[in-house]
């Protein structure tokens, strides 16, 4: 039994070791090296790349990323909680309702991001409609700003918030809400004082599941933020392609990955892994 199990696990173990662990190890090593003359890597070992993260220019990008990811997470929570509540009360059509939440999520992330470019650009649908109704004369600058990035992130990761909260609410005894109502609580009070505290593990899981990918987002700030709204992901990409400073790019990657893993540990500590 154990031999077959080991035989079955071996190919995946090799694959993960060679194409996941080894590449990350290479990046970790590069982050402690010095940039060579032609953009290559060289000795001596240094921690200067990490020290540069504290440079106001880069620290600002890190803070911005955290702030944008935080804003997106908060908006997802505000939009997603009532939606999760709706799903628990959707009755017979619950599966259909759930499917309609997940369906856009599973279809092309790139296309969904492009859809917002199509809506928000100067000649996009929103501006064209507003102009033809006569509400505005000149197009509003909707695309290529932080707002567009946060909107894109919310659009992209909203289901990650809805599902864990739904799963947590679903497990609660329906009579709890009824008892609260019988005792004279208004619906709003029932939600804030009974349901939300009991669904707390789901809320926390949802917040982390949204915050983690938003923090490392690359495509959304790249397409919807234009060159103006830079997040950590873009900084990493830029260091590896245009600036050709692999050691510094590696240090940024390691810092980002460390942060993500720290957040993940919080999530797993809470035994929320079954929610994935």
């Amino acid at each position: 039994m154990t031999r077959l199990r080991l035989l079955f696990l071996a190919p995946s173990a090799v694959l993960l070791a060679v194409l996941l662990a080894a590449p990350i190890a290479i990046v970790a090593v590069s982050s402690a090296l010095t940039r060579g003359t032609y953009g290559g890597l060289g000795l001596p070992w240094t921690i200067e790349n990490y020290a540069r993260l504290l440079d106001p220019l880069y620290a600002w990008i890190l803070l911005r990323s955290a702030a944008l990811a935080g804003a997106a997470t908060l908006l997802c929570l505000l939009v997603g909680f009532p939606m999760a509540l709706f799903l628990t009360r959707a009755g017979r059509r619950r599966n259909l309702c759930l499917c309609l939440v997940m369906l856009p999520f599973w279809t092309s992330f790139l296309v969904r991001t492009y859809a917002w470019m199509f809506l928000l650009r100067d000649t996009g649908l929103v501006n064209t409609v507003l102009q033809s109704v006569g509400l505005i004369r000149d197009p509003l600058p909707l695309l290529y700003n932080d707002g567009a990035v946060v909107l894109g992130l919310v659009y992209g990761y909203l289901p990650f918030m809805i599902l864990p909260i739904y799963a947590a609410l679903e497990r609660l005894d329906p009579s709890l809400a009824e008892a609260s109502a019988d005792l004279g609580a208004r619906p709003w009070t029932t939600v804030t004082l009974v349901l939300a505290p009991l669904a707390w593990p789901g809320i926390l899981a949802g917040c982390l599941l949204v915050f983690i990918p938003c923090l490392g987002a690359y495509l959304t700030p790249d397409l919807l933020g234009g060159g103006k709204s830079v997040m950590v992901g873009n900084l990493v990409q830029n260091q590896f392609t245009n600036a050709r400073d692999w050691p510094f790019g590696s240090a940024v990657s390691v810092a980002l990955l460390a942060l993500v893993m720290l957040l993940l540990l919080t999530l797993l500590r809470r035994r929320a892994e079954e929610l994935l």
Partner: protein, 252 residues
Amino acid sequence: MSRPLALYAAGVYAFLHLPLVALGAFSFNSSRFTVWEGFSLEWYRALWRDPALAEAAWNSLHIALAATAVATVLGTLCAYGLWKRASGWFSATLYLSLVTPEIVMGISLLAFYQYLFRFLDVRLGMHTVILAHVVFCLAYVVLVVLARLRTLDPHLEEAAMDLGAGEFEAFRRVTLPLAMPGIGAAALLAFTISFDDYVITSLVAGVDSETLPMMIYAMARRGANPVVNAISSLIVFGLGALILVAERLRES
């Protein structure tokens, strides 16, 4: 259910679906601009005639099929191994592959390949993309297949073995057929994730392996173009259909 909550949900559904509906609707617009001027299939004809798009679509299909095949086989075996006895290290590594930001996974694979190329005479191309896709699809396959295996009764295999089947035979003739719907769902999921990937692909692709998402990205950056709406609509419909089939399989 309360009426305000239902109205609210309708609003959220509109937010989730209307952007894609609008995108699709304007792919049938006869004007190049975002003003409705009448129904036309012009942009679909244009994309049909574009040889570069055809090649990119072919590359994407080739990559997604190869990556799906490898990831599904490896992931199924892996899920079976983990079903028999959990492994903290293994699960942690799989979760790591799920949460590693795409850009970080992409540049680490690029750095790894560059390092490897010093010793081997190969270049970035289809194979480097396929290997990268296998890595990020694997965890999804394992999760979906494992979820299916957990609904099975482990005693079935024991019964098969009591009746004289070997370990491998019990796996192949009892567990594997029962897990098939889950494996099918996992394969469809892996295909959609692979077909759609832009960030990692663009970093490890070579000159001969431009994919459909890479072309869409380049065209989207250049400015408004109804052809992008047309390709996007086709992708959303194609991948959407696959996902619905996968859902069916998962619930069966």
